[in-house]
Symmetry: C2
Subunit: 235 residues, 2 copies
């Protein structure tokens, strides 16, 4: 099916800073699928976005042959199933697949929500958030040691579902370290993840998609200014 899809068949509605959008783009790169990237402007929602995801009104939305799908991890699974001739994203073994799904859901439910709050938190609240995130990283280090079996990625020799789910947050992890003046990914405590993060960001399917720390920091500051009633961020 990969070879019969024209670029206009495949559209991604998104924005460059969103880890959830990055997931979809990495999955498409793995499958060598060309796509049209329709950038949403922060602070407004396009008519196409509202029509395509009327329930959540959120990016990313993936549109294939005119049919929309929302929710990043659901989109990644769809891409894996439709372009099945390309390298697999989900592990082939059902148990490994269940474990990858478990940790991907963990990233979304327990790891990323406190991470995104650190940069604007202070005092005890900040300490509690940092604790949640570092405990999450300890668990993910353990999961990495078990899943990777000595290889570079959660998925083994090549990046897979959990690599994408977790790796997509690395830009914000670094930006948060910078803005929150905290060390989160620590080579002494999570040596496997530190090496994994390097391999992940250098991967051909990922390159150019994880935003530079400075760019995210600048974006976050503009966003914070706007939330306080300042000028809307230009981008």
């Amino acid at each position: 099916m990969a070879n019969t899809s024209s670029t206009t068949d495949v559209k991604v509605l998104g924005a460059w800073p969103s880890p959830f959008v990055i997931r979809v783009r990495i999955a498409l790169n793995i499958k060598s699928v060309k796509y049209e990237f329709l950038e949403e402007t922060f602070g407004s929602k396009s008519q196409l976005l509202l029509q395509s995801n009327p329930v959540h009104k959120k990016i990313p939305v993936f549109i294939h042959g005119g049919k929309p799908i929302a929710e990043s991890l659901i989109i990644v699974q769809y891409i894996d199933e439709v372009w099945s001739s390309g390298p697999s994203i989900l592990p082939s073994d059902p148990y490994d697949r269940a474990i990858a799904r478990f940790w991907a859901a963990y990233v979304d439910d327990k790891f990323f929500p406190p991470l995104r709050l650190i940069k604007s938190a202070q005092g005890e609240e900040k300490a509690a958030l940092v604790k949640q995130v570092t405990e999450g990283l300890d668990l993910l280090e353990e999961a990495f040691q078990k899943s990777s079996k000595g290889k570079a990625f959660f998925g083994g020799d090549r990046i897979g579902y959990l690599d994408i789910a977790f790796g997509s947050t690395l830009g914000w992890l670094r930006a948060t370290e910078n803005m929150g003046e905290v060390k989160l990914l620590d080579g002494a405590k999570t040596p496997g993840l530190v090496l994994w993060a390097e391999s992940f960001c250098a991967d051909g399917a990922v390159k150019g998609l994880i935003p530079e720390t400075e760019k995210l920091v600048e974006f976050a500051k503009l966003l914070a200014a706007r939330m306080k009633g300042g000028a809307p961020p230009k981008q």
Copy 2:
């Protein structure tokens, strides 16, 4: 693989009132898989539960050949993939599968959380929760009309992934109507869902698993009494 599994190979750690546990049991019934049901006692967590789901420490846990899996929808997908010779639970078409996954996630993230709060809420808070739930039911009615294409279930002629995800909450939906003195599933507004709920509860794979309203109401009252420092519920 179904025929080579002995009962002791397959264990479900759960409790009868949990919709999440019910999902796993329905999926196993669909696949005609025999299993051992290990009932957790409310208010305490067994050593096996803590060992098998150390991250969330929650039921259900599914143990297959000694290997544990947590999170109900992940377990249902695993069961569908492992016992693939039985009737399919997920739709066969990737797009239909994505849509079923989308609505199942909606049930967990947006529909069930407000539903479980109604029975103990009052005044404006209660009205807001009821509004959220009934709006959710309107959306699910729309999804039902689209997915079922005139058939009895979201999955068509037989119950599938979204039927299980949503249908597992029907016991609590009814108990909430009873305790909260509200009408939620309304034949005038959601006629498709009312008929679907009847067909679902009468299905051979479901029968006996959706608890009776009176039993859930009694359980909820005992639980509420315990939360207020009363005696622990016997069950």
